[in-house]
Symmetry: C2
Subunit: 219 residues, 2 copies
Amino acid sequence: MEDYNDTARRIVECACEAFAQKGYKETSITDICSMAEVNRAAINYYFRSKENLFEKSFRHAVSLIQRADALNDDGSEKPATEQLKNYIAALIRSIFDEGPSGWFMRMVFHEIFAPTLVSKDFISDILSQERSRLDAIIVRLTGETDIHKIRLLNMSIMSQCLFFNTTRNIRKYKISQKLPPFDRPEFQAENFLEEIIDHVYEFCINGLNIRKTNMESGY
Amino acid sequence: MEDYNDTARRIVECACEAFAQKGYKETSITDICSMAEVNRAAINYYFRSKENLFEKSFRHAVSLIQRADALNDDGSEKPATEQLKNYIAALIRSIFDEGPSGWFMRMVFHEIFAPTLVSKDFISDILSQERSRLDAIIVRLTGETDIHKIRLLNMSIMSQCLFFNTTRNIRKYKISQKLPPFDRPEFQAENFLEEIIDHVYEFCINGLNIRKTNMESGY
DNA sequence: TTGCATTTCAAACAACCGTATGATATAGTT
DNA sequence: AACTATATCATACGGTTGTTTGAAATGCAA
């Protein structure tokens, strides 16, 4: 990104915004160029093709992720419960992040739901790395050894966080005023993210704990 | 559907399959027609437009849902725990249903993720009705009265079920061999659906129960 | 200023989209 | 057999897609 000139940089940033919002196929060169206020041919000049621009945008989006800090172990081993809370908080916040640092997350979901298979390996690595991080926390919390069960627990936690991505358009386009949980004034409040995070955390702790009890009692 | 001739019926069925798989925009008239082995003009002859065909297909998909039986109260008030188990089981099974009775579920998700806004009210009604059903079970289970909390709990349960739709393409295109929970032989087994259902049910019961305890202790 | 490399731009390309047309084939009735 | 309504078909339309081209504009060094 550093070796791009102003035009190329503007293209990549507009492309990120568009790809994050609409995905690869639904985003047209014309869209991006009118956003960036450049000629359509500029994309072929600076990037060879739309596909290549997509890959470059993807990599740019990765470089903007700010969650790494919150998720990385900082050496000091915090309690596992705190680690889980931090993990959930960071993941949910990144999903609600509509700015540049949220581009990557949204692009990944488009790739998962309508794969271009352009960055298959790329995404695969990121996701499995993400999963391992949560796996480690689960193991610390439950002492579970069966990798099969660990992954089921992982899925239960992850799914609750990622759900807010699935329902983004329901909020955005107001598809239904009746759907949970964004049709009440409480969720317009400033601390609605904290409320959500607290709830998911509690629900997961409970879900994990009794499993642990079951395990101890020979389940 | 009954008043359609063979050609029109074939078109609708192929359209359902395609729309369920790729969504509205990504599905082309040409795709559908080559599938149904009819001329492209046939769609304009039997249905006025692609949009109209989409709506007709949507309604056809609704008529094929088989989950209604499993989800509907059959008069006899079963234990709330059993109701929850049945609800989770029916929802997850319908998501894994790749046949005609799963068309609707998959079309709905495409609409949610990339709304055409064609059937906005239609979907809205279906979804909110679906939510109410789970809400009722939650209330029976927890005695919770705060509708705000009920919807958070609803979300935690629903998200775990719907997650399997989000990850469909990861399984399908094998985007990652490393992602949970389908990279191990256990999940290729015949009873893997039962395993998943049992797990989600247990996780949810635990998540709900302790909330209940908290409430009783004045939380 | 002259000369050259870089950057921008309008215009056009072939391929695809959803749609429309009018001729042809088919089926059923008189 | 002749007529008519229905159904199917190849073909073409206007619009949009990603991409390409070649000329115009710009920046910069000599």
